[in-house]
């Protein structure tokens, strides 16, 4: 199993002077190539606390870097750059810049939880991955993932009505992610449905679209859920040192 290896020299750390003369010697171009210091001096010491405050990240300080999570990882087997052990370490030490470099792969965790069962210290690395993806999003380093957009549309409906109307979830998801509704698979699905001509089902579908049924007596539950969600979101943003309400 490959251990995560970072190339120590990044292109941006290679410096070359186009025109440089030192002591009368022309060292222009590749003669003046040098590597900028790799030593780190910039640390965000709040980072561990921030991840700890988000759901899933509670036990990150337990990690002792054995690498069981990375060894067990489904995604790591395909992409050696996906290394939960390494990211946990960066977070614990506050190497923010280094972590943000991997923002485009951190969210690829498939939540198989093999790491969860391998971890001898019960760190819950899968939860840490979730918390980290959430952290990157809240801090504005990454955009919302499509799955997050879907989850939001889905849960917003449940919160509002206590019910799910599949057609609406689908329409909202396509709209919010800027995709046309006429997806080939969706068209095929609808055509297949129409061809069988289930009159009663189609009538119910049509009625639901128009009347948006609600669970009886949902108002109280809705208020409680909204209150709770807002509480958690406010706490999350506060822990990360962000304003009460960020840009959606």
């Amino acid at each position: 199993m490959p251990i995560h290896e970072k190339s120590l020299i990044r292109p941006e750390n290679l410096v070359e002077h186009e025109n440089l003369v030192i002591d009368g010697v022309d060292v222009s171009g590749h003669w003046s190539t040098f590597i900028e210091s790799r030593a780190l001096s910039d640390y965000n010491e709040n980072m561990q606390d921030e991840i700890e405050a988000l759901a899933g990240g509670e036990h990150i300080s337990r990690c002792w870097q054995c690498g069981s999570c990375t060894n067990a990882c489904t995604v790591n087997a395909i992409n050696p750059d996906f290394n939960p052990r390494f990211w946990i370490y960066l977070i614990r030490l506050g190497m923010e810049e280094e972590l943000v470099r991997d923002k485009d792969i951190i969210w690829q965790c498939v939540s198989c939880n093999k790491c969860t069962y391998a971890c001898p210290r019960d760190v819950n690395p899968e939860g840490v991955m979730k918390a980290t993806a959430h952290w990157l999003e809240l801090k504005g380093h990454t955009k919302k993932k499509p799955s997050m957009v879907f989850d939001e549309a889905f849960s917003q409906q449940v919160f509002d009505t206590g019910k799910i109307e599949d057609g609406l979830v689908l329409r909202q998801f396509m709209k919010r992610t800027g995709q046309p509704l006429t997806q080939p698979w969706l068209v095929a699905l609808v055509m297949g449905l129409v061809r069988r001509f289930p009159v009663f089902y189609l009538m119910r579908l049509g009625l639901a679209t128009v009347f948006r049924p609600r669970t009886k007596g949902w108002i109280k539950a809705r208020a409680a859920i909204h209150e709770y969600v807002e509480e958690v979101e406010t706490a999350n943003r506060k822990a990360l040192g962000l304003d009460a309400k960020g840009a959606e």
Binding site: K6, H59, W64, F86, E98, R121
Partner: protein, 350 residues
């Protein structure tokens, strides 16, 4: 009645041996070069002990007063054994202050000497006042003065504890693991975090050896509850930028050179053989092992024996040792000494 048991050194092991000998109705004589009993925990001013969390002054102080009260134990302070002659059951020890002790057996509980960090100059001790040892931090805690930077008395914001200072190092001829420093450092780290909640404490390690049951209450507890951060690196050098200390090394887990500012650097110093071991070896005619500690024969068939019959050994005189194990070993050595005396009395009777 056979002659008393001579106990050389009045630290935890010596106090334990004296108590064990006296408890079985036999007399004991303690000789200690210091001006009071208690050994390293008392003389060096340790704070809370591992694993009991009791203050050293209470725990070891209790052992001292127990021996002080015991009429069967005679104590000679401020002196050392200058010569030691005779045979098992009939030894004569001449003290440096002119005293003379007739003894049936001797137990060496001469302990260790703290490693002197000056021997690792690259880590800044002796050059920068804010580079201190674990013993100094223990004293800051036990005296009630609190953890402060010696240079200007400010409370440190960032503290680095370097493990294996004077241990596991061929460069300075110390190839042993001092066994207790990992746990002591975790303990100190937790105490610093408790007294200075805004501080950040980092431990630089090669391995963490909080052996046995100490794993949970020290290593894990310090990480999980007290948020002490462990970094796998052996520090290359400690310098200063004029304001703060600069710790340089390689963070081996990310394969990256590190250069981090700190307010205080603590050396987790190891246990050296007692500086007097060459003298002790010559006076008592006991062999030292290749590291300079008092040699013990096979661990399985002998109780606290040395290379000389009638002279026994216990505690950190034989190698890095915990207080608890020193106490247990001293009881075993006391039993061995009493057994030998009883056997020689029976032989004489026949």
């Amino acid at each position: 009645m056979s002659k008393p048991v001579l106990i050389v050194g009045g630290g935890p092991a010596g106090l334990s041996a004296a108590h064990a000998v006296a408890s079985s109705g036999h007399s004991a004589v303690i000789v200690d070069k210091a001006d009071r009993l208690g050994g390293a925990p008392i003389l060096s001013g340790y704070a809370k002990l591992v694993p009991s969390h009791e203050w050293a002054s209470d725990a070891i102080g209790g052992m001292v007063s127990r021996v002080d009260r015991n009429k069967l134990v005679d104590v000679h302070l401020n002196t050392t054994v200058a010569s030691f002659s005779g045979e098992p059951g009939n030894f004569t020890a001449m003290l440096k202050d002119g005293g003379r002790i007739e003894a049936g057996a001797a137990i060496l509980t001469t302990g260790f000497t703290h490693f002197d960090s000056v021997n690792k100059p690259e880590w800044g001790f002796g050059t920068y006042p804010d580079v201190v040892t674990t013993v100094q931090v223990e004293q800051m805690l036990s005296s009630g003065a609190g953890v402060k930077c010696p240079s200007d008395g400010r409370a440190p914001d960032r503290v680095a504890i370097l493990l294996c200072v004077g241990s596991r190092d061929r460069q300075i001829g110390r190839e042993w693991c001092s066994k207790i420093c990992c746990t002591v450092s975790a303990n100190i780290a937790m105490e610093i975090r408790e007294s200075l909640p805004n501080s950040n404490v980092y431990i630089y390690y090669m391995d963490i050896r909080t052996f046995g049951l100490l794993e949970g209450p020290y290593y894990w507890e310090s990480q999980e509850t007290h948020k002490v951060k462990y970094i796998k690196a052996r520090i290359a050098e400690v310098t200063s930028d004029g304001k703060r200390l600069l710790v340089k090394g390689e963070d081996t887990l990310v394969k990256r050179p590190i250069s981090i500012p700190f307010d205080m650097v603590v050396h987790a110093i190891g246990m050296d053989p007692n500086v007097d071991n060459m003298t002790i070896s010559a006076v008592f005619d006991v062999k030292l092992n290749k590291y300079g500690f008092v040699e013990k024969p096979s661990a399985y068939l002998h109780m606290g024996e040395t290379s000389r019959p009638g002279v026994f050994v216990a505690g950190a005189a034989t190698g890095p040792e915990t207080i608890d194990d020193s106490i247990a070993q001293a009881q075993a050595a006391a039993m061995a000494a009493l057994n030998m005396l009883r056997a020689s009395v029976m032989e004489a009777a026949e």
